[in-house]
Every structure is written in structure tokens, then in C-alpha cells.
């Protein structure tokens, strides 16, 4: 039922009662983007307390009105909880007629088909499972086509884009030397220092050299280098390829008759497989230099003694085994980086997640394969 109330005024509007006990809202001044937000702060509260069956909106004193004003008109009906015909707009300026017809009130019925319903948990579970299967299939197909491209290169080496290989060798290898050198030098320093704390009391200073050399050459060298390369280059591979993927560049290559794998994956793969072992050798060298610094300054060892001990501890097999491992890691990094790039779909944010997941997956694979290698060696 309609209840009587006292008229209320706000800067842009005034609410009063009509003789027929309906409600009258009189607006004045501009009704546009500058004023409507402030009306929205007061009006819902002011109208909520009132119950009425009918409302008249008087726009006689409104001088300008834009679509924000029109939206306000449409919302008043909801504030008052009135049916469609419960609202009458009076004295509307001529320009308003067209504007009013533009507003789409009944969005829900018009766009019912276009709306997406959130899926229930079973459907989500199933969807994820199916996607995972597709992922696995994609992965296998990717490995297969990469191997095929590789065979093509072996059969006709001219198909290889040699300039690209050189570029990637530079960005993956040469450009990484400073950071790898610094990290492994410090690593050698730390290892020597920490182990000397344990070995010094026994007078076994000289074995610090063996420890640094062995640990670095057979384990830490390959792993540390691979992790640095995964962070620097694996992510770059994924970012480059996913950018090309989402801007349809890869599709363009494909329809021009290029093999995208041959074009994009093989050069990166070969470059990584060649330079990462070299980087690892560098890392080993710098770590040994780091150990040497500790040996000379803190353990009273001579350079000759340290170097001789290092040579004695290492065998050619140990050294090659480390390089072999790092070659495998390189292949893992290149394949994962490229794969994640090819899997990207959607907009710019796909590039970011491709790079992230390339790094995470390659580090995981590196550690996994390293454990496999350790198991293989212990049953040798």
C-alpha cells in the first residue's frame, strides 16, 4: 500500500507525492556522466523506504542528458520495485526519445544463447581429464614430428637453417657465459669453504680440491648450468614461439609450405645441444678456480698441489659423463620450451604462462632425468 511521506530534495532531484498518491521524481539540471554517479549514491536509499504502485518522472527541467541519465531512468523502476507500466516519463526533451529506445533492458532474453553457464564439478573434472589426454597426444605428436624434421635435416643438411643455429648458439651460449661463470665461481668458493671446515681438523686440506672437482664435474656443473639455461633460454624459446603462435605467424609459415618444426624447433634444439655442454665445461672450470682461491688463501695449499690433486680426482669418463648429461638436459630444455610455445592459445597472457610453465617443466624434467642417470650409474 502507498504510504504518505514528506517531500525530499537533493541537488539534482526532488521526490514528492502526486495528488493521485503516486510518486513524482522531478529532475533538474544536467543528467549526465558527471551528475549520475552522485545521484546513485543517494537515490537507492531514498527510494527504498517508499512503497508505491506508480511513479512519474518529470524531466521538464533537465537541460542535458546522456546515456548515463537514460540508464538511471531504467534503474529507477528497480529501485521502486515497479512493473514495466508503473513508470511514466513526463516532459522528456525531444532528444531523449531516441536515446531511450537505445537502452537494452531485457538483455537476458536476447543473449540467452550467448551466455555461458558455469559447469558443475563433474563436467569440470571430465573436461580437465580430456584436456590432459589431448596434452599428452600433442606432446607425443610434437616429439614425433620433431624427430621427423631431424631426420630430414640428417638426410639433406641443406634444409637446416644454419644462420638461425648460429644466432641461437650466441644467445643461448655465449651470452650466458658471464652469469654461468659468476655463479659457478661462487659455488666453487662456497663448496671449498664449507668442506674445509670439516676437513681441516683432520689435516685433510688437500681433499678439498678433489671434493670440489668431483662434485662439480659429475653433478652440480651440469645441473646448475641447465637450470640457468632453462631460466634464460627455455623461457625465451617459449615466449618467442608462443608470440608467433597467437599472432598466427606459425599458421602463416605452415600455409606457405614451411615445416614450423624445422623452422623454429630444430635450430634451437641443435644450438642448445651444442652449447650447453660447452657452458658446463666452463662452469666446471670456474668452480675449480673458485675452490683454488680458497685453497690458496685459507688452506695454505700451493697452486701446483691443488691442480695436481684436481687432475688426479677426475677421470676422462667422469668428465664426459657430465657433458653427456648436460647435453640431454639441453635437449629437454629446448623441447619443453618449444612445446610450451606451440601449446599457447589466446591472448598476450598466454605468452607469460607459456614461459613460466616452460621453466617449471624443464627444471622438473632436469631433476627427474638426473635421478634416472644416478640410478643407471649405480647399477652399471
Amino acid at each position: 500500500m502507498t504510504t504518505a511521506f514528506r517531500p525530499v530534495s537533493y541537488p539534482q532531484y526532488r521526490i514528492s507525492q502526486a495528488p493521485d498518491s503516486g510518486l513524482v521524481i522531478t529532475f533538474s539540471g544536467p543528467l549526465d556522466i558527471k551528475t549520475v554517479p552522485s545521484i546513485f549514491k543517494t537515490m537507492p536509499g531514498a527510494l527504498k523506504k517508499i512503497s508505491t504502485h506508480r511513479a512519474v518522472i518529470d524531466l521538464g527541467a533537465v537541460n542535458t542528458m546522456d546515456d548515463y541519465g537514460v540508464m538511471l531512468m531504467a534503474k529507477i523502476r528497480y529501485f521502486l520495485n515497479l512493473p514495466d507500466d508503473g513508470i511514466e516519463i513526463k516532459n522528456s526533451p525531444t532528444f531523449l526519445e531516441q536515446t531511450l529506445s537505445q537502452i537494452e533492458v531485457d538483455y537476458n532474453s536476447k543473449c540467452a544463447i550467448a551466455r555461458r553457464k558455469p559447469e558443475n564439478i563433474i563436467a569440470q573434472f571430465g573436461g580437465t581429464a580430456i584436456n590432459t589426454l589431448f596434452d599428452i597426444r600433442f606432446f607425443i605428436a610434437f616429439i614425433g614430428s620433431t624427430v621427423l624434421s631431424l631426420l630430414r635435416v640428417i638426410r639433406s643438411p641443406k634444409a637446416l637453417r644454419f644462420d638461425d643455429v648460429l644466432t641461437h648458439m650466441k644467445t643461448t651460449g655465449v651470452d650466458a657465459v658471464p652469469v654461468v661463470a659468476l655463479i659457478s665461481f661462487l659455488l666453487g668458493l662456497i663448496m671449498a669453504f664449507m668442506s674445509s671446515l670439516q676437513l681441516k681438523p683432520f689435516g685433510a686440506n688437500i681433499y678439498v680440491a678433489s671434493l670440489v672437482a668431483l662434485a662439480m664435474v659429475s653433478e652440480l656443473g651440469p645441473i646448475m648450468t641447465a637450470i640457468v639455461v632453462a631460466g634464460r633460454s627455455g623461457s625465451a624459446y617459449a615466449a618467442e614461439i608462443s608470440t608467433m603462435k597467437i599472432s598466427e605467424e606459425i599458421d602463416a609459415l605452415f600455409v606457405m609450405g614451411f615445416d614450423p618444426n624445422l623452422f623454429l624447433v630444430i635450430p634451437r634444439l641443435i644450438a642448445a645441444a651444442l652449447v650447453v655442454p660447452l657452458l658446463t665445461a666452463f662452469a666446471n672450470l670456474f668452480a675449480i678456480a673458485g675452490g683454488l682461491v680458497i685453497g690458496i688463501t685459507m688452506l695454505n695449499l700451493s697452486v701446483t698441489a691443488y691442480v695436481t690433486q684436481t687432475m688426479e680426482a677426475l677421470s676422462l669418463f667422469e668428465f664426459s659423463w657430465g657433458l653427456f648429461k648436460s647435453c640431454v638436459f639441453a635437449i629437454l630444455i629446448a623441447i619443453t620450451g618449444c612445446l610450451r610455445g606451440f601449446q599457447a592459445r589466446g591472448g598476450a597472457d598466454a605468452v607469460g604462462s607459456a614461459a613460466t610453465s616452460a621453466v617449471v617443466s624443464s627444471i622438473f624434467l632436469i631433476v627427474l632425468f638426473d635421478s634416472l642417470f644416478a640410478v643407471i650409474r649405480s647399477y652399471w
Binding site: D66, Y107, I113, G346
Partner: protein
């Protein structure tokens, strides 16, 4: 009535990218509620003029005023205050890829009006309806076509009913029917809200439909080669490049 400052004034704009001189001494003025077209072949520097006019880049030489504020000057606050009154449709749409079409349009509305959420949603639907993208609110930019992205970008540029609207090739990549709908929309916005519109375009049809005044720039002089109403340009200009443009013919320039 007191004389008002023009909405956009560009004076002696000279732009260099690295060693290449792109624009030399470009000057023009756009008045309130005008629809002003910037014409020219591709690569002639139309987008470059627009990017300087909205203050995204600093020119090597020249001064630019928007509504009397010099944006090439040092006053940052005046510059940001001016930006709120400007709507821009970029050549590449520039939708934010991680947000849906609706969220892209809602972004400036939520940020600058403080309207409650349902009112923002209603406005988003009004704006998307205006450009004919009624049911695409929940699509991601990567899920719609290039022409639809253009229209979504236009809806976002219109979100705050700006006083000045910059449109970089709004109908490029659209079918003729949608393109003429966009032209009508431009005219309607200009008439209803008195919006000043600066439009970069190649489209002969839309030049004659919407533009009140136009300038044409060309690579040969790195500057304006003709200025006036589209009819004047077509009928009176003696410049071979201008003639060629309106007759859709390439003129060999020596």
C-alpha cells in the same frame, strides 16, 4: 559568449624516429564539436600525429594544446586531467587480452565514476549495444574477429562520453554495412553529445559521410598537402596526390 580555446591545436609538429624525419612542421586546429579527418596513404604518419596529439610521445619540435592546455609543456597534472576527457580508439584496438570484452569497457567506468556494479554492467551493455556487440560481453578479445575488436575498442573509447574522441581507422577491416553503421554512430555521437571527433581514415565513403573538415598528409612533403572540407579537397585541389586519392588512382610522384 567568451571565445573558447580550440579543442585541439597542433603547431609546427616535427617528428623524427631515429635518423628518419617522419613529419615536418605540421600545424592544424580542431574546434569544438567538429569532425575532423586526417587523410593520407599508409605510412604517411597519420597514427604518428594521433599519438603525439594525445601525448603518448613527445615531438622533437612543435607544441600541442588540448582544450587550451599545452600537453607538450611540463605540467603533468594538467596533462592527466586532460586525458580523462579524451577517448582513443587505437589502430590495433588495444583491448586488454586477459579481460573479457565487457570488462574492458567496464574498466574506465568503474575507475572514474564509482557507480555500483549493476549500473556499470548496464552501461557496458548500452555501450556494447551502441557498437553492435550485444551478446559478446563475456568473450575474450582473442575469441572475436578483428572487426569486432575494433568495435569493442570503440565501445571502450566511448565509455566515459569523452569530449574529444580520437579514432584511428575505425572502419578498417569492417564489412561495408558495419562500416557505414560505425559512420552513423560517429555522426550520432557528434550530434547528440557535441563530441569533437578526430578520425584517421582511408575510407572515401566515410570521409564524405562524416568529416566536416580534413587535412591530407603525404610522404613527399612530410606534411599537410591539402586542407578543407572533403568536397573542397575533391573538387578544388590541384595537388596530384590529393586528386589521385579521391579518384582512387595512384599518381607517380617524381
Amino acid at each position: 559568449m567568451e571565445k573558447q580555446a580550440p579543442d585541439l591545436r597542433v603547431d609546427g609538429l616535427t617528428v623524427r624516429y631515429g635518423p628518419d624525419l617522419i613529419l615536418k612542421d605540421v600545424s592544424f586546429t580542431v574546434f569544438k564539436s567538429e569532425i575532423f579527418a586526417i587523410l593520407g596513404g599508409s605510412g604517411s604518419g597519420k597514427s604518428t600525429i594521433m599519438r603525439h596529439a594525445i601525448g603518448l610521445e613527445r615531438p622533437e619540435n612543435g607544441r600541442i594544446w588540448i582544450k587550451g592546455y599545452e600537453i607538450t609543456g611540463a605540467d603533468e597534472t594538467a596533462f592527466f586531467a586532460t586525458l580523462k576527457n579524451i577517448g582513443v580508439l587505437f589502430q590495433g584496438s588495444a583491448l586488454i587480452g586477459s579481460m573479457t570484452v565487457g570488462e574492458n569497457v567496464a574498466l574506465p567506468i568503474t575507475e572514474f565514476t564509482g557507480l555500483p556494479r549493476d549500473a556499470v554492467t548496464a552501461m557496458v551493455r548500452v555501450k556494447l549495444g551502441l557498437v553492435g556487440l550485444d551478446c559478446y560481453e563475456n568473450h575474450l578479445p582473442s575469441e572475436i574477429s578483428g572487426g569486432m575488436k575494433k568495435r569493442a575498442g570503440l565501445a571502450r573509447a566511448l565509455a566515459l562520453n569523452p569530449g574529444i574522441l580520437f579514432l584511428d581507422e575505425p572502419s578498417a577491416g569492417l564489412d561495408p554495412v558495419t562500416a557505414s553503421e560505425i559512420d552513423e554512430l560517429i555522426l550520432r555521437i557528434n550530434k547528440r553529445l557535441g563530441t569533437t571527433i578526430i578520425i584517421v581514415t582511408h575510407d572515401l565513403g566515410s570521409i564524405f559521410t562524416v568529416a566536416g573538415r580534413a587535412i591530407m598528409i603525404d610522404k613527399s612533403t612530410l606534411g599537410i598537402i591539402a586542407e578543407g572540407s572533403p568536397d573542397d579537397l575533391k573538387e578544388k585541389s590541384t595537388n596530384p596526390v590529393v586528386k589521385g586519392f579521391f579518384m582512387r588512382k595512384a599518381i607517380a610522384t617524381s
